[in-house]
Point group: C2
Chain length 293, copies 2
């Protein structure tokens, strides 16, 4: 069996071809230009192969409501040319296969979920945070995505200020003191004059970032009680995760039981930012099954 | 059909008998003394009637893990005599009917959920916060309770301090600046020297409480994306809800769409704190059905 997976990002689209074991058989990259050009290349790419279904994890915001006439659209994005784009509709014109449509963070979360399941780990629910240009998260409970009236925006919950970070303005144009505004990639430049990858781990800014991430983990823990919380994206490293665990433990104060923190708060199991593509394969299979029902 | 419902609180147990329309046919109150005495009275009460199943919403913490040998227990409560009490096991000795076991906030949430469903309101998911001696919440997504490794403890997430509330110590022995520590009933006495019911609505403390509740609504909104968020319990009034809505709107800043705030953030539809008892009837039915499968 061959299935397709699309990770649609603001800079590039990654398209991949996989088998029933989620092994990548082929892969292609297309720059994100206009919907006509980029989606045209995506459709041409998949039409070369006998894919049975496609899973899409896309940048957003998205319309995910199957009852809406705008289901399958990218809606109010700030990305030029992509506002109000009928992503799924465009692909369905050329590719007559079932399509699973979700957010990039949801497909990443799903990739990690299915890999845990295949390893027979006791993971029925997990949260996947990604920290890069922005902060997003996907959440799965008992194999289902969380979010009834729309997808979660867990990167925009408010957090308590770190005592040494009271003067930083925050980078989110919508919210004062939300997670994204205080920890996303661009905040490193704003705070230190350097990009995150150039800020040494000895810099106190990492302690501040860890404090905010620990609050995100606290929120996810107390609201969702998942088996696992994964932190991924350009800003995350094992060193940072150690700091997050060290901040989180006294913050939770053993109020509820959680798994061993080294397992509970972890990097993605799928390396090289590949979670979304693997998730797309698994979601393509889901689309196929639900189509066959 | 007759089903039983138990709302087990730290002060009293409410037991009720209901029909298939969740109409209360009989009701009894027993003070919470020792497990033997109180559960004995509960068992005696229900053994008078031909109940087919019982739903329990209990104070906690509880063991809700069906795979655990301690399933059905109240575990590490501070309530004298009730630590490590096999609540479900005790009742099953005398009453040979299916029992649904969950938290008091979950049964309240479920009561509100089934009432919405019966009114054919578009509510597939909801969150029920209760603010009284403590702060707790139950969350339902697509008819299922949230919480894989244990029940949520949404009353203990951290919140940003209100600028006029920086000096208040907070009342939670576990967490600095958690919701419960800043808004539960006892905080009124600590802040104003008066009990909450005696603090006039003109007192600025209500604005502070509304600010923290708006942050709770913000967390629930961005993490769970529910159709509805209900605030119940002794501290809540329509006047307070108006303040919460007024704080929440600029906080969210239209970042995601939510229903009209007058519907979205509301008091319980079931009056006189009756949500948990109605929820217990519906959960008893669930226990019956899953037993018949």
């Amino acid at each position: 069996m061959l299935v397709g997976s699309i990770e649609a990002g603001g800079t590039k689209f990654i398209c991949a071809l996989g088998d029933e074991n989620y092994q990548i058989k082929d892969k292609a990259y297309f720059p994100t230009t206009t919907p006509e050009e980029t989606l045209g290349k995506v459709a041409d790419y998949f039409s070369q192969f006998a894919v049975e279904a496609i899973g899409i994890g896309s940048f957003g915001p998205l319309n995910l409501d199957p009852h809406s006439p705008k289901y399958g659209y990218i809606t109010s994005t700030t990305k030029p040319y992509w506002q109000n784009t009928n992503f799924v509709g465009y692909l369905k014109q050329g590719l007559h296969v079932p399509i699973y449509w979700t957010t990039d963070v949801n497909s990443s979360a799903y990739g990690e979920y299915v890999v845990s399941k295949r390893k027979q780990l006791p993971v029925d629910s997990l949260v996947y945070y990604t920290v890069g240009t922005g902060v997003g998260a996907g959440a799965i409970i008992n194999g289902q995505f969380v979010g009834t009236i729309g997808n979660p925006e867990m990167g925009h919950t408010l957090v308590k200020r770190h005592p040494q970070d009271r003067d930083f303005t925050g980078n989110c144009p919508y919210h004062q003191d939300c997670l994204e505004g205080l920890i996303a990639g661009p905040t490193f430049l704003a705070r230190t004059g350097k990009k995150g990858e150039n800020v040494p781990l000895s810099d106190p800014v990492w302690q501040i970032i860890a404090y905010y991430l620990a609050q995100a983990v606290m929120q996810a823990t107390l609201i969702l009680r998942p088996n696992k919380i994964i932190l991924g994206g350009g800003v995350i490293s094992e060193e940072l995760l150690s700091k997050v665990r060290a901040e989180f433990a006294p913050m939770l104060a053993d109020y509820v039981e959680v798994p061993d923190l080294a397992d509970y708060i972890s990097m993605p199991a799928i390396e090289h930012n590949g979670s979304a593509i693997i998730g797309g394969f698994a979601l393509a299979e889901q689309a196929l099954w639900s189509n066959q029902k």
